[in-house]
């Protein structure tokens, strides 16, 4: 059976065809890389609760990019540049916790990586240009930057991308404190570019956007982990789910 990978989706006012209305949506780049990795993508909109009911039906979870994570989740006051989506935060935090509880493989992209850090007890830098003194991680609205990232030897991210990789970049927040996650990737200015939890089957966050670069590798690694023998909790879950 084809593995099924859930992708958290955006809720935004959007325009398409004759319409201009509130929509659940995701750039097709995410759908394409998950399908290219050999899995069925399925999108997970906010609302409806029932995180563990949803996680029970999945083999892996992608936390997608998007707006800023609510600073209330790491006990900070919002910065003037911080733009949040509380409905997404609630949905994705619940899905993530339910996934971690059964050792379901998780890949966090950009916002998704930052959400991972917050779930693991960390905190975010709410406006990176003020900390690093340059706009290189988001050169201008709507334009991706690019820079090298260096990865820790022996890490999961290094196994996927090698010791150094050129990455795209579009974010104004970053991880200030990774909590209980291991930091395994850095930009030249010291900004955290990758985090992981080596104790789990597959928990990896990347600060850049591999889906925009049509880089299937991290998605293929997620799918491979999803097909690997599950932990005892996941096996029990599958037996119950039939």
């Amino acid at each position: 059976m084809t593995p099924v990978i859930g992708i958290s989706c955006y809720v935004e006012r959007a325009r398409w065809g004759p319409w201009d209305r509130s929509a659940a949506l995701i750039p097709y780049t995410y759908v394409n890389v998950v399908a290219a990795a050999g899995a069925c993508p399925i999108l997970l909109p906010p609302g409806g609760g029932q995180a563990s009911t949803v996680i029970d039906r999945l083999d892996g979870l992608v936390l997608a990019g998007g707006a800023d994570v609510g600073p209330d989740l790491y006990a900070a006051q919002p910065h003037a540049e911080t733009v949040t989506r509380p409905d997404r935060d609630a949905n994705e935090m619940a899905l993530l916790r339910a996934a971690l509880a059964v050792d379901l493989p998780v890949l966090g992209v950009c916002r998704g990586m930052q959400l991972l850090a917050v779930a693991y007890g960390g905190a975010l830098d709410q406006h990176l240009p003020e900390s690093v003194g340059h706009p290189g991680h988001l050169p201008e609205p709507g334009v991706f930057g690019a820079h090298p990232a260096t990865f820790a030897p022996g890490s999961r991210v290094a196994a996927i991308f090698g010791p150094v990789s050129e990455v795209n970049s579009y974010h104004h927040q970053s991880i200030a404190d990774p909590g209980r996650l291991a930091v395994t990737g850095w930009a030249g200015d010291g900004v955290i570019e990758a985090v992981e939890d080596p104790a789990m089957r597959f928990v990896l966050g990347v600060q850049w956007h591999p889906e925009e670069a049509a880089d299937v590798r991290p998605f293929a690694a997620l799918v491979a982990a999803a097909g690997a023998p599950a932990g005892a909790a996941a096996r029990a879950r599958r037996a119950v789910a039939g």
Partner: protein, 239 residues
């Protein structure tokens, strides 16, 4: 009690949101809201190159509205007013046929109902104003709903759920000419156009021409979700 998981097929469109202009999987949030308000948990399925294995992970499926059905699917050339997405048609027909085969509860809305008719061997009027001589079913040129009554056949699932007659919203220019092996169960009294169809041989195969997700009447969503719950509980292993 865990909620039934309801898959909704999305649109695939060039969309603009915030500073982004990109090809996206997109669905009016009202469909998600309709499912969540009616006791289900919505997940969204994209119409690219879908794998029908995904049907084993959901308890029911909704085929949503959107662009016109490609008339080549029922052997006609496209009307000049047609806006078709042949890839979405192909993907949704594949999923619908597999869902029918698996007796998964299916709810078709507008385009979803028309696709259901095609999957059951029927065909469509391509442009109702040519057939009926009026804009009755899509009164305005822009995205603005019309409104009219629909009457239901005695003994149909629709009548059981909605009563003898309801006022519905309306925004479509295609319509069912022949429902194939589906049973027509609801009509617009003014012109006799088919507004609701069912397959009584299946657990829940129901299509409506209007847009319950853009109304406050979620009774059909609730009935679909109850059918999904019953099927899931039947299939659950005995502890």
């Amino acid at each position: 009690m865990s909620r039934p998981v309801i898959g909704i097929m999305t649109y695939a469109e060039e969309a603009q949101f915030g500073l982004v202009d990109t090809f996206a999987a997109v669905l009016p949030l009202s469909y998600v809201h309709g499912v969540h308000e009616s006791g289900g948990r919505a997940v969204l399925i994209t119409p690219d190159d879908p794998d029908t294995d995904i049907l084993e992970r959901i308890d029911g499926i909704v085929f949503a509205g959107g662009s016109d059905i490609d008339p080549t699917l029922f052997g006609e050339r496209a009307h000049p007013a047609a806006h078709v997405k042949p890839d979405r048609d192909a993907a949704e027909l594949l999923m619908m046929r597999a869902a029918i085969e698996a007796d998964l509860p299916i709810f078709g809305i507008c385009r979803g109902m028309q696709l259901m008719a095609v999957a059951y061997g029927g065909w469509l009027h391509q442009h109702l104003p040519d057939v009926l001589g009026t804009d009755y079913h899509r009164p305005a040129a822009g995205p603005k709903f019309g409104q009219h009554p629909v009457r239901f056949a005695p003994g149909s699932k629709c009548q059981e759920i909605l009563g003898d007659e309801v006022i519905v919203n309306s925004f479509h220019h295609q319509g069912i000419a022949d429902p194939g092996r589906l049973t027509p169960v609801g009509w617009s009294p003014q012109d006799g156009l088919i507004e609701a169809t069912e397959d009584p041989a299946k657990t829940f195969v129901l299509g409506v021409q209007w847009h319950p997700e853009d109304s406050t009447d979620f009774r059909l969503f609730a009935a679909h979700i109850e059918a999904a719950r019953a099927r899931r509980d039947r299939h659950a292993p005995v502890p």
